[in-house]
Structure formats: C-alpha cells, structure tokens
C-alpha cells in the first residue's frame, strides 16, 4: 500500500508538511491566475511591498500563536486563552503610554521618565507586558499540571476572565497612541521588510533550538503520547506541562503587541478575538495531532500562512466579509480531508496513506 504511494518520493522529514504545502501551492496558483500582479514585489518608499509580503505581515500574530500552541497541543493540551492574553499584553502597553492612565495608576514620575527617556520606558513596557503574559501562561500551567484540570477547561477560565482583566486595566476605554518607538514593533521596517517578521523568525528559530537542540522536544512528545509511562521513565511531566503553557503565554504576549502596535490602539474586547481558533487550526493542519505526541513547528507555520493567504485572497477577490467565512471554511475542510489517511484511501485511492494516522498506529500498538 505505502510502497506504491507517491509519498515515497518525498523525504521523510518533509512528509508531514506535504498536504499543507500542496494546499498552499494551489491557493497561490489560484491567486496568480485571478489576481493581477499577485507575484509582483516592488519597493515603495524603501520597503518591499506586494501581496506575498502582506501575507507574512498580516499572518505574524497567528504564526507566533501557532508556535506556542504547537508545544501545548503536543503535550495533549490546548490553550484557548491566547486571544485573551494578547488583549492583556496589548492593553497594558497601550495604557502605559497614556499619560492620564500613568498618572492615575503609577504616579507622575512615569510620565517624566517617558518624556525624558522614551527608549527606557518602552523597554519597561515591553518587559511588563511580556512578564504579564508569561504569568498568565504560568497560571494555565498551574491549573493543568498541578491541579490536573482538563486543559480545555483550565484555559477557558482565562479565555473568559482574561478579557475582563484587560477591561479592568484600561477601565473599559480604548486607548489610541502615537508613539513611533512602540509602533515600530507592528509597523516598522527593517532591511525593507516588516519588522514583525524578524520577531516571528526569531521566535521560531529560538523555539526550534529550544526543543530540538535539547531533549525538550522528545520529552514534550513523550508526555503527549503517554504521560503515565513518561513519568515512570523519569520525565519531569509536571514541569514540562508548566513550561509549554508559559511559552504559549509569551508567544501570545508578543502577538498582542504586534497586533495592537500595528493599529496604534488596543481594544480589550476585540483584539485577538477568535485568534486561538486560527492558531489551533494552523497547528492541526501542520500535522500535529490534537491528541498530542509528535509535533511539527514548520507545519504549524505553513498552516498559519495558509490561513492568512486564504483571508487575503478573500480581500483581493473583494468577497464581502459575511460571505468570506464560507469559502474559508470549505478550504479548511478540504485540507483536513486531504490530511486524513482514511479519506485519501477511500476517495483518492492511489494516494496511499504515507504513514498510519495516530489512531491507527494505536490500534496497531495492540499487537
């Protein structure tokens, strides 16, 4: 069966990425045909511009979320609170560049500091936002690993309460600001490319190194695949669970900063709304099973890009936002079906399953 599959021409390391790459390719092809100048990349005022660059820029937040979400899902969990954590981090940053808020909450000295040393103040803001995000992740990690609450419920708590916390911070107001130094994160350009891309690249590379140059990746996969057996083999199951939720929190915090500084404001209710769903989708499309185990960071990034390409295609085709969700859902469904070995076997016939799906492998495990 597998011997006759076209999969055998693909190097094993790339196999999990095959179907998302195929889908991405098809979608790009569609655009090349129907959107004039789709592949064109030009220079406008010293920055590279074009449809392709937009995909990367617009998809930065979801790509970041997908990185943290990949690790969480690999341990067999899920983090529904990333959208809310984005809001907390964004609102904190926006509040701290608002003089009235500083005066009321932190004291007048902060405004002096901001006026005299804006660079230092921005560094403090970033630190505060990111620390808050990591703490939010640690809270999830504690509920899941120490109190053994189901991840979906544990993170649901913060998904709901997190927006409340964000509202509380800014007293329900929407702060807009004009602080170029801060806005650089979401809007700036470096070597002609969006600065946010460098953040994404840095986080992806760092996470890759963190998981694959150490034994962390192996242990995460082992916890997701069989946590009881992992504990019996000396894997620090609790610490690893804790860690992945903290990483996810950190990624969400960064995503929140990018998303809000790009529009120079932070809306506690709207920012990052439903982003957790996009992130989960990106991870699953990228080949990491929701049941945990083996994970593929590269696949998750491709999944996120696929999603963004889809969204941008709708814009380019001027599909109205209400209708846009339907073709989006259809493409998502198609990718998921392509990923299912059972579907490929039944419908496509010739494309044998490259490797048994997780459930199948588990059934085989009963041998």
């Amino acid at each position: 069966m597998a011997e006759s599959s076209p999969m055998r021409f693909i190097p094993p390391a790339l196999r999990p990425l095959t179907w998302p790459l195929v889908a991405l390719g098809l979608l790009l092809l569609f655009n090349v045909i129907f959107t004039p100048g789709y592949l064109h990349i030009g220079m406008v005022e010293g920055r590279v511009s074009g449809y392709l660059v937009d995909i990367f820029r617009d998809g930065a937040a979801v790509m970041l979320l997908a990185v943290g979400m990949t690790l969480v899902i690999a341990t067999g969990g899920v983090d529904l609170s990333v959208g809310a954590i984005m809001a907390i981090s964004a609102v904190l940053a926006a509040s701290m560049v608002t003089p009235e808020w500083n005066e009321a909450n932190l004291g007048a000295w902060t405004n002096t500091l901001m006026a005299d040393h804006i660079g230092v103040w921005i560094a403090i803001i970033l630190l505060v936002s990111l620390i808050a995000s990591v703490l939010a992740g640690a809270w999830n990690g504690m509920l899941v690993s120490v109190f053994k609450i189901q991840p979906i419920i544990a993170t649901l708590v913060l998904m709901v309460a997190g927006r409340g916390i964000a509202q509380l911070i800014c007293s329900g107001r929407i702060f807009t600001y004009d602080v170029p130094g801060l806005e650089y994160i979401g809007k700036g350009t470096l070597f002609g490319l969006p600065f946010s891309l460098f953040i994404v690249a840095g986080v992806v590379l760092a996470t890759y190194a963190l998981t694959r140059a150490t034994a962390l990746g192996l242990m995460i996969e082992s916890v997701g695949d069989n946590d009881v057996a992992s504990r019996c083999s000396g894997v620090p199951v609790r610490n690893i669970r804790f860690l992945v939720y903290m990483v996810s929190g950190l990624c969400a915090g960064l995503a929140g900063l990018i998303e809000s500084t790009n529009v120079s404001s932070a809306n506690a209710n709207q920012l990052g709304l439903y982003f957790e769903l996009d992130a989960i989708f990106a991870v699953v499309v990228g080949g990491t099973a929701l049941t945990g185990g083996r994970f593929f960071l590269g696949g998750s990034i491709i999944g996120a890009l696929l999603l963004q390409t889809l969204t941008n295609t709708m814009y380019a085709q001027e599909v109205s936002p209400e209708i846009a969700l339907i073709p989006k859902a259809l493409v998502i469904l198609a990718v998921c079906l392509l990923q299912s070995p059972a579907f490929r076997r039944r419908v496509l016939g010739v494309f044998g399953a490259g490797k048994p799906s997780k459930s199948r492998a588990k059934a085989g495990g009963a041998a």
């Binding site: 069966m1 597998a2 011997e3 690993s145 120490v146 053994k148 140059a213 150490t214 034994a215 962390l216 192996l218 242990m219 996969e221 082992s222 695949d225 069989n226 946590d227 009881v228 057996a229 992992s230 504990r231 019996c232 083999s233 000396g234 894997v235 620090p236 199951v237 609790r238 610490n239 185990g293 083996r294 490797k355 048994p356 997780k358 492998a361 588990k362 059934a363 085989g364 495990g365 009963a366 041998a367």
Partner: protein, 535 residues
C-alpha cells in the same frame, strides 16, 4: 487429515499475506481449523501471530490469499463484522474501555434495548451471567480500571464468550493470569471444545499448549512452517520449528543459565527495605537486597508484588517505612527520585506504564537515560543511534529499523525495548516486573541469562514473575507475599517453587475461610493514574 473429509474444516486460510511499510508480517500463511478443536498458534516474538489474528478479524485488510469460514469466503472489514460472522476474539492487549463500568464493557455494541433505550437492568444481569461463566463475581457497576489487569483480562474473555460464536480466538489470554486462573480458563476451554466450538489459542507457555491443544501450527518470520498433532510433536521439536535452529543448542543454553544462577555468591548489602508500605496498597514489607543479588518477589496475582515494586520505585509514595540505600533512609515520591538513587524498573503493564507508542524505538530506548541527564544535556543524535543499534543487536529486537514507532512492534519486542531503556541507564538496583510476559521461549532464556549476567557484574535485581518456577530459578532470596502482606522469606537452598507455594498456602489457611480465587482487587489508590507530577 483424513477426518477433514468427513468434517469440512471450519476455517481455511490459504496463502494469506500482509505487509507493513518495511516488514512482510505474513507471507503465504496457511491455517486450518476444525470444529471442536483447540488449535495452538505458535511462533517467536514478531512471527506474525497477532497480525494473522487481526487479518482474520478485519482489523487489517490482507494483501493476498483467501479466508474461508464455515463454508464460504469471507473478508471481514471490521472486528464487528467478524463477530457477526461468528468469530469472537480476545486481542493480545486488553482492548476494553478502562473508564467504563464492567457491565458497559461487557455489553458495548450489543446492549439489550427496548424502543431504542438501553435496559440497564437486563444489561447488568447479562453481564453477571457472562462473568459467571468464567467464574468471576464482580460488582458490575464499578469502573473497569478499579480491577487488576488479570481481572480485566478475564472480563475481556467473558465478553468474547458472550457472543454467539463458532470460533473463539485467544491471543495470549493467560499472560497476566496466575496458575489457578489459568486452570480455570483451560477447563473452560475444554468444556467449550466439547460443545463444538473451535478455539485458536496463542501463548508462549509450553505447558499450557500441551495441556489443552489438539493441533499446533507454527509460524516463523511470517511464514507457515508446519501443522502437527500436539501429541506427535515433542516439546523440543516444537521449539526447533519456532526458532529454526537445533533444539540441542537451546537445551545447552538452559543448563548454562541454571549453572550461572547457582554459582553466584553474595556481596555486601546494597539496600534495605524497611517496612515500606502504603494504606490500601500493601502492608509494610521488609527485606534486604545484596549487591549482585537477585531478590524474587513471589506470590499470586494481587498479592502485592507489583505494589511493593511501585513503592520502591516511587510510582506510588509509601506512607510508612523507608528504603535504605548506602545507609541513608529514603522514601521516593516519584520515579525521578528513585532514579537518582540508581533504581530502575520495567513495569508489568507495558501499554500503560511502559511504551510511548508513537515514538520511535530509538526515542523509547534513550528516554530514561535522557531524563536522567536532564533536558538540557541532550544525547547527541549519533550517540542515540549507536545506543539503539547496540540494544537492538544485543537483545535481538525485531524491528525494521530504529525509527519505527514502537507501538507497531510485536508485544514481546516492545518488552525488550523497555528492558533496553533501563539497561541504558546502568542502574544499581533493577526491578523487573514480569519481564518475560509475552516473551517467546528463546527470548525468555535470553532474559534469564541477561539477569544472571547483570547480577554477575554487580547489579542487584528485584525479579517479579507469575511463573513461580522462574522466580525460584533466578533468585537467591525470595520474599513471599500473600494478600498484600509479606508472609515469609526463603533463601539459598531453601528456594523452590514448591516451598513458595507452600508458604502461600499456609498463610492462606491462617486467614478465616474466605472465597478462594476471585475477588475484586482494587488498584489501591485512585490517584495512581492521575499522579503524574514529579514533585
């Protein structure tokens, strides 16, 4: 063969093949089963026995050949399909839902209903009747995983018998049963056979094969070797057919193992178990473990052997007593803590506590060593490959390569991977809980040999096995447990299977007349499966 003309065979398998990526698990296999016979299917680990059964029952599709059942060609698409056709199966690893109740497990897929609603009362009664047939009295409303693995295995058998079947398939049903339970099962098989049922029986226990089976079919490397009448096939010839080697070599090996274990002399004391116990699990036990000594834990199922091992290794935390190593008292609260003391353990329930099914053989082998070194000091890819290659070769693990997911290996080979995982950390004290479960005769000898070699190199071992004869063979000291209590200790010359059994029997007499055999054995502590922290 002559009677096959008068009675057409019930099952005719001809030329069946099955390949997995990189493995030809079945190659032109044949099998003939007649009504009213018990037919043993024998072969080494990885010979293809379970795969053949899964092909017969529609778990896997087959690549070629024909299956004829009850006079017509069948190719079941799922186990339910096979069940409807009259083939009832107990798979090698217990295939029930641990979080459902016993009654639900027995009735899943065939609940008695009225107007679309489940009749719970009838389901309960039906479950009780089904259990009675295998001589089991359980509270059917309780969750299945409150009972021990042995009882779960009997429940699986009861479930298989409950269906209207013409053919019953049992894949290593006795691997976690102790003697009295095995007796009961074999008696049951005997009476079913008289009722005209055909039974296909897979086991690595030679004794059981010769006690119950009429015919024997042997597979080797996925291919059919021979079919013989059991009474015409001496034990050593059977082994020869299975391993494809001269049985004389095996006989010599066995003698060698015996000699190895006898000549061992005791060194100093490595560890002292001082009244280690836990409420609801096992009453305080105490014994000494010498350097290079093998201590056997003898007892029947549910006697507290595994529980004692779990306390020493910190899987469950003891609430009384201590473990003294190098003169210091410890009470390990997690396997990590026990590992830091130089302890290792292969668990009895490899599916739950042992293998990481979707990770590769290599990952599974390096896991414990890697945990011991810590997350940040990764073992280099080359060292990982070398380690895996070393153990695949030295333990003779049958796998297409080191990157194969361990869950696709045959049961016995999974067990060897677990042994490799712990040998890699080179422990001072190695606890082996049922290390030979599901392991073929050849490999069993190898493992006993390994135990002797390790002890010779100065490693101390705690050895647990349902086969008391094996415990007696490898141990220099045997701690005998009964009803979750230590009832005695045997040393040196005094050790024999008979002596262990006698000690258990005497302990049993002292207790007031209780029901013999079956009684529910709760796992001890509910949090066992939930506690996965490393605190």
């Amino acid at each position: 063969m002559s009677e096959s003309s008068t009675h057409p065979p019930l099952l005719l398998v001809r030329g069946v093949s099955k390949s997995f990526p990189g493995v030809r698990a079945l190659d032109n296999v044949e099998l003939t089963l007649r009504r009213g016979e018990v037919h043993a299917l024998m072969g080494e680990n990885g010979a293809g026995k379970s795969t053949l059964i899964k092909v017969l029952t529609g778990v896997y599709p087959h690549d070629g050949g024909t299956i004829e059942f009850d006079g017509r060609a069948i190719s079941p698409a799922s186990p339910r399909d096979a069940e409807r056709a009259g083939i009832s199966t107990v798979y090698q690893e217990v295939n029930l839902v641990p979080t459902l109740s016993v009654a639900e497990n027995l009735c899943v897929g065939r609940f008695p209903t009225r107007g679309g609603l489940i009749r719970w009362g009838a389901a309960r009664r039906r479950a009780e009747t089904a259990l009675e047939r295998v001589g089991l009295k359980l509270r059917v409303g309780r969750q299945l995983d409150e009972y021990s693995l042995a009882i779960q295995q009997m429940v699986a058998i009861a479930r298989a018998l409950d269906a209207e079947a013409k053919l019953l398939i049992l894949d290593e049903p006795t691997s976690s049963l102790d003697e009295s339970e095995v007796d009961r099962l074999l008696e049951l098989m005997d009476s079913l056979r008289s009722g005209g049922l055909a039974i296909l029986f897979v086991t690595h226990f030679m004794g059981q094969v010769y006690r119950i089976s009429d015919r024997i079919t042997v597979l080797r490397n996925g291919a059919f070797v021979a079919e013989s009448m059991a009474k015409d096939l001496p034990r050593f010839d059977l082994i020869g057919q299975m391993v494809g080697k001269d049985p004389e070599a095996l006989r010599a090996r066995e003698a060698e193992v015996r000699a190895l274990h006898q000549k061992k002399a005791g060194g100093g004391t490595l560890a002292r178990v001082n009244g280690l116990g836990k409420q609801g699990s096992v009453a305080p036990v105490g014994f000494e473990i010498g350097e290079g000594q093998t201590v056997g834990l003898g007892g029947l199922l549910g006697s507290g052997r595994t529980e004692t091992a779990r306390l020493i290794f910190g899987i469950d935390k003891a609430d009384a007593g201590s473990l003294e190593i190098d003169g210091k008292a410890h009470r390990p609260g997690s396997p990590r803590e026990a590992m830091a003391l130089g302890i290792a353990m292969t668990p009895d329930d490899r599916k739950v506590n042992g293998i990481i099914p979707n990770l590769s053989v290599r990952d599974n082998i390096v896991l414990a060593l890697q945990s011991k070194r810590g997350i940040w000091r990764r073992i280099s890819p080359k060292a990982q490959r070398d380690l895996a290659a070393k153990y695949i070769a030295s333990l003779n693990i049958k796998t297409s390569n080191a990157e194969t997911p361990v869950g696709t290996l045959s049961g016995g080979n999974q067990q060897k991977v677990l042994l490799a995982r712990w040998l890699a950390v080179n422990p001072r004290l190695f606890i082996l809980d049922e290390p030979t479960r599901g392991i073929d005769v050849g490999a069993k000898g190898e493992i006993e040999h390994l135990v002797a070699d390790l002890a010779e190199q100065g490693m101390s071992l705690v050895f647990i096995s349902s086969e008391l004869e094996e415990v007696a063979r490898v141990s220099q000291r045997v701690v005998v447990l009964c009803d979750r209590e230590q009832v005695g200790e045997l040393e040196g010359e005094a050790i024999s299977e008979h002596a262990i059994l006698e000690m258990i029997a005497r302990a049993g007499e002292k207790e007031e007349e209780g029901e013999t055999g079956w009684k529910p054995v709760p796992l001890g502590d509910e949090e066992r499966n939930e506690r996965d922290g490393d605190g």
